[in-house]
């Protein structure tokens, strides 16, 4: 950040100064923007759910919540594991970081697996009215973000084996971890909207 004091001593700032904060600033701006797609989907979901004359397709009673709840708990706790990974990295404990980071990836992968199992057991499809469409759209779009997060974490794990890679800074890890928290928060809202708010009428 540049100063605003007009009485600064005479100086000509070099143009090649490192701007460490840029990547993080840019990434946070991107995440804010990305969250609007989800907000748009959530708003669309809510509007369709409230106004649709026939919400559930024929033969569908509602959604099973037990397995998704376990899945959610695993995904949300993985955010805390990711946080501890970052703490280890700050303490320069690389192996601690790798272990925690790998655990986060494993928990994320379990979530994707659980989602896959749930999808394969469902009796309705993408084209089963607005209910089917919104369900698969929301969970699928979120699932893509989870998979992206896991891939990005894999990249960061790989980069931790490059000697001295994190000496200068760990902007990549901070960004990916931020992305992971973002994906988790989105899931909590999504879970409340889809699984908890099940209309009975």
């Amino acid at each position: 950040m540049t100063g605003v004091n007009p009485d600064l001593p005479l100086n000509h700032t070099p143009g090649h100064v490192q701007h460490d904060g840029h990547n993080l600033t840019g990434f946070i701006i991107f995440l804010c923007s990305e969250s609007i797609i989800f907000i748009a989907f959530f708003a669309g979901y809510a509007v369709l759910k409230i106004t649709s004359p026939e919400w559930l397709p024929d033969g569908v009673e509602g959604l099973e919540t037990k397995m998704p709840l376990i899945n959610s708990i695993i995904l949300v706790s993985s955010s805390f594991v990711a946080y501890f990974a970052e703490v280890y990295l700050h303490k320069k404990n690389l192996w601690g970081f790798r272990a925690m980071w790998l655990l986060t990836m494993a928990m994320g992968s379990y979530f994707v697996y659980g989602q896959y199992v749930e999808w394969s057991e469902l009796t309705f499809t993408l084209s089963s009215g607005v209910f089917g469409g919104t369900f698969y759209l929301l969970t699928g779009f979120h699932g893509l973000h989870v998979i992206t997060g896991i891939l990005l974490m894999g990249l960061m794990l790989f980069r931790s084996f490059i000697p001295n890679n994190y000496v200068k800074g760990d902007m990549g890890v901070t960004s990916v971890s931020l992305f992971w928290h973002f994906v988790d928060v989105i899931w909590i809202i999504l879970f409340l909207l889809i699984y908890v708010w099940q209309r009975t009428t």
Binding site: T13, H16, S33, S35, I36, A40, S52, G129, V130, G133
Partner: protein, 562 residues
């Protein structure tokens, strides 16, 4: 404080420019220099201005007589859809990104954008989606033809049953365009927040930077909503969902909310940078500081905020409940306030100024007059009773062309002429420029002024044939449209010939105050390189007599030596 005190720096030669200035091949490569990317945006988007204009002239040729005789009505549907899409997504957004790339780093004293590679990638997505969009002319069934807003249920019809059809390609192109714009917006906002020269606080930024920032913020908030709607539309069209299909329980009006939540602010995305251009140029060519600088700067963000809560005024006649109509009518009226602040600030700046009527200033004044006109018809259309009466008539077409072309287009031309010497190092020909302005102003007025009457008398938009009672207005409009086509000839001649062999430009031909004018013309690759100046006063200090940056003589002298 004399220059001899700084001898070591004066002796330091600027870094050699990677790729000599006359190396034209760099404009066709994956170059990460924001100034090269800016010129790439200009070149490409001006080509699409010609294409969009050509489509428009075919339409006006068709409308010169009441019956549909030149083209088939179904072809006509494709023409207006593609005309709107090309002009917005392939001309206006890219051309304004051209300004952003050239001006944001140089105006704030940054060496480049925050993410140069992302910047180049964002640019190269433009030709990609251009190819996707234009290839729809060659698929069975022809291009998308449900208008640029692509309302369902029209847009989710696929009578021929091909997976790849005009609508599919249209949605795909809009989605890629969205990705490109988001990349650009992240980059511009990060650059403005993090890369300003020392001493350049937010209230020392030129108004163009403020408006670009406000506009890119709108992109960041609005575009994802459109993308969300476009994804759902694509699923409806191609994968059998029924988000917007009433027979499957969906709601077609929901799409309109997604669409206008972005596409109304999109107008502000386009007009805000033009407000910035107006503010920059009016001060230079009136030799006066900007009247109410802080208010003009802040009004940009007030427009951003209000621009996000007015979108339902496009839907007054699509079954919107009365309370919602009233609410959005009020917000629409409110947006005239910050806009009015800007207009009065420009008038206050012009008042008593020493006005120089260069080509760029003529375009600013022409654009300002047209903007006041288009703004007033905008307030008219924002009132519910008038909108229900005039919605989907030529009055709407006339209104938004007064904004989109007669204001934004004029502002773009003004900006091109004004900064042409800075970024090409050549002066343009003033005579050709004035011919261009005269033809454009007369053509634009003939084209869109009569259409207000056609609309008031009830001529519907998007039709290939019409009642003969509207013939007179349409003949005048078509003459104006062809005149606009002719106006492109002096413009192209001017740009091409003056860039090739125009007189060399000095670093500051307009005696303007601003960081970009302390650089050589054209600026070197890293702008100020290792001597980024420290800003010590507010912008637009015309007639104040105090320097903009510390050690100003050094920069002026260096820019002259380069």
């Amino acid at each position: 404080m004399t220059i001899t005190d700084y001898d070591p720096r004066v002796l330091k030669a600027p870094h050699p420019v990677p790729g000599a200035p006359d190396n034209w091949k760099r404009f066709f490569s994956f170059n990460t220099d924001a100034k090269v990317i800016g010129i790439q945006y200009f070149g490409l988007s001006l080509l699409f201005l010609l294409l969009g204009g050509l489509l428009a002239m075919v339409m006006r040729g068709e409308l010169i007589t009441p019956p549909a005789d030149l083209v088939d009505p179904s072809v006509y549907n494709g023409l207006y859809t593609m005309h709107g899409t090309v002009m917005l997504f392939l001309f206006l957004f890219p051309v304004l990104n051209g300004f952003n790339n050239l001006l944001i780093p140089t105006m704030i004293g940054a060496p480049d954008m925050a993410f140069p590679k992302l910047n180049a990638l964002a640019f190269w997505l433009v030709p990609v989606f251009a190819v996707v969009l234009l290839s729809s002319f060659f698929v069975p069934g022809g291009p998308a033809s449900s208008g640029w807003w692509s309302y369902p249920p029209m847009s989710i019809q696929n009578p021929l049953g091909h997976f790849i059809n005009g609508e599919f390609l249209w949605i795909l192109a809009v989605a890629i365009s969205g990705v490109s714009s988001i990349m650009g917006a992240v980059n511009f906002v990060t650059t403005i927040i993090g890369m300003r020269a020392p001493g350049m606080g937010y209230f020392r930024m030129p108004v163009f930077v403020w408006t670009a920032w406000a506009a890119q913020t709108l992109q960041l908030i609005g575009l994802p909503a459109l993308t969300g709607g476009a994804i759902m539309l694509l699923f409806d069209l191609s994968f059998g969902t029924s988000f917007f299909r009433p027979e499957g329980g969906g709601d077609p009006v929901l799409y309109q909310h997604f669409f206008w939540f972005y596409s109304h602010p999109a107008v502000y995305v386009m007009v805000l940078p033009v407000f910035g251009i107006f503010s920059e140029l009016i001060t230079v060519y009136s030799r006066k500081p900007l009247f109410g600088y802080k208010f003009v700067a802040l009004a940009s963000f007030i427009i951003t905020f209000l621009g996000l809560i007015v979108w339902v005024h496009h839907m007054f006649y699509t079954g919107t409940p009365q309370w919602m109509r009233n609410l959005f009518m009020v917000t629409t009226m409110l947006i005239a306030v910050p806009t009015g602040v800007k207009v009065f600030a420009w008038l206050g700046t012009l008042w008593g100024g020493k006005i120089r009527l260069t080509t760029s200033m003529l375009f600013v004044l022409g654009g300002l007059v047209n903007f006041i006109f288009g703004g007033i018809t905008g307030v008219m259309l924002g009132t519910v009773p008038i909108d229900i009466h005039l919605g989907n008539t030529y009055f709407v077409v006339a209104h938004f062309h007064y904004i989109i072309f007669n204001t934004i287009g004029f502002g773009v031309f003004a900006g091109i002429y004004h900064w042409f010497p800075k970024f090409t190092g050549r002066m343009y020909y003033e005579g050709l420029g004035k011919i261009h302005f005269t033809l454009t102003f007369i053509g634009a007025t003939l084209n869109w002024l009569p259409l207000h009457w056609a609309g008031l008398y009830g001529m519907p938009r998007r039709v290939a044939s019409y009642d003969p009672e509207f013939a007179l207005w349409n003949v005048i409009a078509s003459i104006g449209a062809f005149m606009l086509g002719v106006a492109s000839i002096p413009f192209i001649l001017n740009i091409v010939s003056s860039w090739a062999r125009g007189p060399r430009a000095t670093p500051n031909p307009w005696r303007a105050i601003g960081l970009e004018w302390l650089l050589p013309s054209p600026p070197p690759a890293e702008n100020f390189e290792d001597d980024i100046p420290t800003v010590i006063s507010e912008p637009y200090g015309y007639g104040m007599g105090h320097p903009l940056v510390e050690d100003e003589e050094f920069y002026i002298r260096r820019s002259l030596e380069a």
